[in-house]
Subunit: 315 residues, 4 copies
């Protein structure tokens, strides 16, 4: 990574991002928020992210539902993602896959029946809860508790997962669009059955309120964003939300985004961190966009900070 510093383009950006992440971790005042969009767990980034959680290298996670429920929790239940043959990448076999109940994520396969078990597990967890609005964070903690209770942990012969590691390390996980994934199916089944009666609901406003408290509780904050989408915007917005609550909160002091999107369509995912600074969300000094597919760049950035032992001072 140090050698990449004297190169150009994405290499140099990766090197600079790695050193910003290193700084973020050494700043003991700093709350580190990891944002996850895209299909990262199915792509093999689960282990890197578990390592970040278990080594105190992240204080909160904001994610799409797919990464946390359909992919991480799904693997925690004992299911797998499969490598698809190259010939499937562009859809040539999708009609056949449909017949065989195999779901495709670009170059990766999933067994649809296993995914239905995952939906159904969420349904059961939902049914077991008190009937009231939950933040996604609260709900995901219940998913962690379920894994422990059911012995889906490494020490009981199960697999490690982000949901479990975050549960054990007390790292909150937020999915602001929580119904937009496997969890949604379980929740819809629950609400359908409860029609009219008291039921579990998922309050996305409560998510925002809770994450804002985290902003308020930390003197400084830093964002490590993989992909864009809702998690990026959500985590950036807590600066403004703190302000709305009358708290003088600083902008995110550190910000890194790994993405392949670009700024030219005006969408949030590709908008630069400089643009975010015009909104008063991100400080200009330590920000870095890394234009790279995440499986290439994240292991380098996380590995760099880890090997420099940046996490030593934390907790």
């Amino acid at each position: 990574v140090d050698a990449m510093n004297s190169m150009a383009y994405s290499s140099r950006d990766t090197a600079r991002a790695a050193s910003i992440y290193d700084m973020m971790l050494r700043d003991t005042d700093c709350g580190v928020v990891l944002c996850l969009a895209g299909s990262l767990i199915s792509a093999g980034l689960q282990k890197v992210i578990i390592d970040l959680v278990r080594n105190n290298m992240v204080d909160a996670i904001v994610s799409t539902g797919a990464n946390i429920v359909d992919q991480d929790f799904f693997e925690a239940l004992g299911f797998n993602h499969y490598i698809a043959g190259d010939e499937y990448k562009y859809g040539a076999g999708d009609a056949d896959l449909r017949e065989m109940a195999i779901d495709r994520i670009y170059d990766t396969f999933i067994d649809e029946d296993e995914l239905r078990i995952c939906d159904e597990t969420i349904h059961q967890i939902t049914n077991s809860l008190e009937h009231r609005p939950y933040s996604s964070r609260e709900f995901i903690r219940e998913m962690g508790a379920y894994l422990v209770k059911e012995g889906k942990t490494p020490k009981d012969g199960g697999r490690d997962s982000i949901v479990l590691a975050a549960y054990e390390k007390n790292v909150p996980i937020f999915c602001p669009a929580f119904s937009d994934c496997s969890a949604g199916f379980g929740l819809v089944a629950h609400q359908h059955a409860r029609q009219g009666k008291p039921m579990v609901s998922i309050d996305t406003a409560k998510d925002f309120y809770e994450l804002t408290q985290l902003k308020i509780a930390n003197p400084t904050t830093g964002l490590l964003m993989i992909g864009g989408g809702v998690p990026k915007n959500f985590a950036q917005d807590i600066v403004v939300a703190a302000d709305v609550l009358g708290v003088e909160a600083s902008m995110h002091k550190y910000a890194i985004q790994i993405t392949v999107a670009d700024a030219r369509d005006g969408a949030l995912s590709g908008s630069t961190l400089k643009e975010a600074s015009s909104w008063g969300k991100v400080d200009l000094t330590y920000e870095q966009m890394v234009y790279s597919e995440a499986t290439m760049a994240l292991p380098l950035i996380a590995g760099y900070a880890f090997h420099k032992n940046a996490q030593a001072a934390r907790k």
Copy 2:
């Protein structure tokens, strides 16, 4: 558009998409769902979308909060988006903009103080509501009612808006990540003040349940998707949700997506509609990806169907 048919690449895709949209409208059994991601209203697509709503060319909308609240409702309140000078596009002036409380979306400016008034309006609407969980659809209807009540309508000298048109035409609007926009600030302020006491919450699971009902109520369905993100996935998923509720629902029969994203990062936004068919969500016969920035392609596709008067048979 007909001439584009004999060209290649994005032109041919646009022509094919236009004819699929035309078919969708002529199929009177078909419920048409419009999905909106990105910053489309600030980019000038508001009028096209209002026209679709007012001419019965869409039956439901699934959107990011930004398009509906920060941009459409914001304009409905009388505020504007401004054209930024070319030199601002890549962030050279962002520190100055920050000082002047001007927010930038790529090549467009917003007055941050006006946006705060928008947040505050949401806060007031929230305070006026009964304390219970709402779907975003219910909440957005209240926003429409607010516009009518406050005389923010063309016949009272105000401006037309998507929220208003959808209110008047009874077209439901869903924002599955509703707190991830200007609305979130108003909601957080409300919940902060109500601490412990009964309050308004936004139930994202209810959104999913309601949209699934729409799938169930229509013999066939079609998707016109601008950008990807949460709206795309949410609208596709209702096929599976109907199935979870025990209803034998057909796949989306028609599907169009306009996007600049591509399939290679495995993320949902760029995943092809063929990939969605492996999940049993979208039928293979009438699907078309259009790889183009939306301001180029949407006016062509909408205009084509409109001029062919495809909407005549509907409602």
Copy 3:
């Protein structure tokens, strides 16, 4: 197009590019250079470009060989490009196509045997020439002469083509990498047969020298670039070449590029026109990048200038 001015992103860029092209044409001191990269003719842009040539809207063309030889001259010989079924786009049928001697360009088919006739025609033209170094411009003029001689012109029942129109209107066409296309096969066959003996050669330095003369002969110059690659760099560089020859030449006063490439890989194609201005090649006042696939944007830009009758004053 005027309406696009008040939109954002690619629409606004297209509108601005159209008005710069309009200015370029009204500036009677200005030599207009059209640059063509990518597979534009097979994609259906031949007619637009012929119209530009026949209406005095371009003074010189710099192109890749593929557009001029494999595609335009190929069609001039009476051959066609065919629309490929959607299922071929991503390579699912390429092994079969190979068997059937069908060549694929993304979503378009070509009959390989017809292409071999095109190669062979170039071989014959080469054999008919005096044995000396030619610029590609000289050679392409001979191709135009061949079309006239063989009756491959509209008035003899043939088709119009860029090579023919440019021949008749005296618009020079340069292909700086001339052997990198169908022409290369004819030339290699010629040189192989002539081994040791005097032969035709293609002097790429002469191309550069001749195009530089054109820069020197015009008080101002403007570039309309479709795609990037060698044509973009070649046409930009003549400013520096004029300087090397001791002539005080002005930078290109107007410059438009339509491309989907972006700046982040540091390559020439996506490099911004601002970057070119650091090299002293392009002036900063009237330059516009249009991030769009060419079949979407070129007809709009060319059509705008044409309907404003910007070309009236020229020649």
Copy 4:
């Protein structure tokens, strides 16, 4: 790299490409052609490429002129590329750079006066040559000889370079659009001075003829392509050229392309290797597209093969 195999997207593609490159090198019948487009040397990839040449890991190079002349030969003359501050990336300082005669390549700076010395050196080399058509390969060998003669070699205290390494290892370098770079300026100056008299010319057809001989001389061939553009097409086309010369040549057996371009605009740079197989240029069995910026992927692929010592069997 082996761990990347079990990941997805670009990581898995990189791992597969690395193993194909490894196979290519172990196949002692195989002639390996390295293709270079974009600005790779200025980006810091010079050392990796020198290592490939010096370790017998490449048999021929096809490149854009910029990489070989403006960047590699330029550094061989003792000049440098400088890291530009982040604020320059998007053109905010280009007017100032122009004043200071600093040329920018995205995030890298070049001293324009030093580049002019490079142009002038080419001019002198040209003047020293016999007056006849040269292939770019012959000319670039003269550049290598010049470096040796002038003591611009490591053992004389100079720097190593691709031009020098290729000269010493007898690896031919081809630039099919040779005038489209710094070399062009020297050649134009020469031809201007020689007006009418015998002169040096650069025969791009001869390039094609010579490279085709290389195809014919090797039982099998493999391509390692960095970026697309002219080098990619040129190297692929020699299969067809051999056929035109009546030689039964096999398709390229191995093919790797690292690029950020995509297939959707129909241009050559982003066209898939499967598409090339429809043209009969590339075999389908061992081909891999790697969608990544080159500074990220090339060191991994080259390093993998090197550490597996795949080159041991060669030469």
